[in-house]
């Protein structure tokens, strides 16, 4: 009958609406992903090649390669000692700006840190 069909449709519509609201609420509640503070060195590459962080963030580079590397910023803001396999280097970025860096042993390896 017409009334039961309308009711059924109405209830179904509500269910869909509630589900949709729930999804939206779920998204609104989720935090934006935290900016990456870890850079992996592997296969002669810094990964990710570019990171964007807030002023005051500490970034840690870890060498997963089977050959030593270094992390040296081109404007001398930060400089690691030689990192053999599994060794790490951390630096805290206290100034805003864009900092390019490279491996002083294998200078074709380059990366960028954007500090906001």
């Amino acid at each position: 009958m017409r009334r039961s069909v309308s009711t059924g449709v109405f209830l179904a519509a509500c269910a869909v609406a509630i589900a949709a609201l729930g999804a939206v609420a779920g998204n609104a509640a989720a935090q934006p992903p935290a900016p990456p503070t870890e850079v992996k060195i592997d296969n002669f590459t810094f990964g990710p090649a570019e990171v964007t962080v807030k002023v005051g963030t500490t970034i840690t580079w870890t060498n997963h390669d089977d050959i030593p590397h270094t992390v040296v910023s081109t404007d001398k803001e930060f400089k690691s000692k030689v990192l053999d396999t599994d060794e790490k280097f951390s630096t805290t970025l206290s100034k805003a700006g864009t900092f390019t860096y490279f491996c002083s042993i294998h200078p074709k390896m380059t990366g960028t840190v954007v500090v906001q």
């Binding site: 002669f44 050959i67 030593p68 053999d84 294998h106 200078p107 074709k108 380059t110």
Partner: protein, 319 residues
């Protein structure tokens, strides 16, 4: 039978057709003797050496070792001391005792004193009387090369460049691993280039020249940093010389190129191999089955034959 011992290198042909591949595999593990004839390098297997050596007397023979990376201990070679010792044994077994050894750098892996000490110790048992070095990027870590120069840089200038003469051949040791710039290649720098220009200025153009440096002085593969950004200037100073041989290391494989009067040659490592240009994601240590390792590590033997235009360059593997 004779064509198993000869392999003409046509540089436009990378030899990967089946016939070329099989020819290469036949001599890859044994020992190759390269002789320049009319500008075309021809290689003969070492088994023909006695016959070829009999034809002309070598006036000056020396050996090249490279990339010993003392201190490296990863799977690609967990025992770089043994392979360096095998290289010394190979040198000591050469038909003609080399007068001296050139080490084209990456003597150590991490610039540690004990690493340099171990190499010095192993090389003490080499038959060659003298040793000459140029640093690799692994030898100048942390201290701008001060330790390297204290040990091996006596009489050198700047970062460790120098020249010397042996039996009428002029040797120039160059340093192209200092002050590397982000995204760049090897570099010689203005001071060293000025020194080199002056160093060769008064030499007779008939003087054979041998230049040795760690990173290749020709562009092998720029994506992996296998080249030197200002080497063209250095080579320009040598344009008038009839015979120029450039010996390098760094890439852990043998490669040869002839350009006019200049023969470029890179040596194998005594520690671990690296992939061919572009054959892998990165130029790092390349693992091979253990029984194949010594077949792709090696030494280089060089002979200057008076009256010949070019030096005879022989690569031998350790197996």
């Amino acid at each position: 039978m004779s064509d198993q011992h000869e392999l003409e290198h046509e540089h436009d042909d990378d030899g990967v057709d089946r016939r070329g591949f099989l020819k290469c595999m036949a001599w890859a593990g044994t020992g190759a003797f390269f002789l320049m004839e009319g500008g075309v390098p021809k290689s003969y297997s070492l088994s023909r050496m006695p016959e070829l050596a009999g034809k002309s007397t070598g006036e000056l023979a020396f050996a090249q070792l490279s990339d010993s990376h003392m201190g490296f201990n990863k799977p690609a070679n967990p025992d770089v001391v043994s392979t360096l010792k095998a290289a010394v044994d190979k040198i000591n077994a050469l038909v003609t005792t080399p007068e001296f050894i050139l080490h084209t750098g990456d003597i150590s892996h991490l610039s540690k004193p004990e690493e340099f000490d171990t190499v010095d110790q192993v090389l003490r048992s080499a038959s060659a009387r003298d040793l000459f070095y140029v640093p690799g990027e692994h030898d100048v870590l942390e201290d701008e090369g001060k330790q390297y120069r204290d040990r091996y840089g006596k009489g050198s200038k700047g970062a460790g460049w120098y020249s010397f003469d042996k039996k009428g051949v002029h040797f120039i040791g160059l340093v192209n691993v200092m002050n590397l710039k982000a995204g760049g290649l090897g570099t010689l720098g203005a001071e060293q280039l000025d020194w080199m220009k002056d160093d060769v200025r008064h030499l007779k153009h008939s003087t054979p020249i041998v230049v040795f440096a760690h990173i290749p002085l020709w562009t092998v593969y720029p994506q992996w940093g296998w080249g030197t950004d200002d080497s063209a200037q250095a080579l320009a100073f040598l344009k008038k010389f009839g015979s120029v041989t450039v010996l390098n290391g760094h890439i852990h494989q043998t490669m040869q190129k002839v350009e006019g009067n200049v023969t470029f040659h890179t040596a194998s490592s005594t520690a671990f191999p690296q992939p061919h240009p572009g054959a892998a994601d990165s130029p790092g240590p390349m693992k091979v089955p253990a029984e194949q390792l010594r077949g792709i590590l090696g030494i280089t033997d060089v002979t200057y034959l008076r009256g010949k235009h070019s030096l005879a360059i022989v690569d031998s593997s350790l197996a």
